[in-house]
Symmetry: C2
Subunit: 79 residues, 2 copies
Amino acid sequence: MKAVVHVMLKQGVLDPQGEAVRHALGALGFKGIGAVRQGKVIELDLDRSDPEAARAEVTEMCERLLANTVIESYRIEIA
Amino acid sequence: MKAVVHVMLKQGVLDPQGEAVRHALGALGFKGIGAVRQGKVIELDLDRSDPEAARAEVTEMCERLLANTVIESYRIEIA
């Protein structure tokens, strides 16, 4: 079973990586680009067959390690 | 119009960040974790209304800046 976790900075938290990307795209000549946010995505192969158990386990992984929940939000997809 | 770009290391390219996450999860007591891959996700707000034009523009952004296509693959979602 595969889990995909998206971790993004929360709204209102300054995102210097995203700003750097936006600036670089403008410098390359791309126009009309508004906000850019950069986050991380983590793909995990889990030795689980129950989607609900997998989701619960990945939620715990996010809370304990994968996301800094003070400034980051996360979203889990189980496939 | 919003575009989401996923950039992952290609299969076969060593992923030390993913390995570090796998090791740390194991140290925290999580069992049965196979491969872990870490990539990045970039969300862009675009001043475009045509999805096909937006996709073409974001593809060019990926080729020129967002992904290192020697070692990384990318996937674009237009929403």
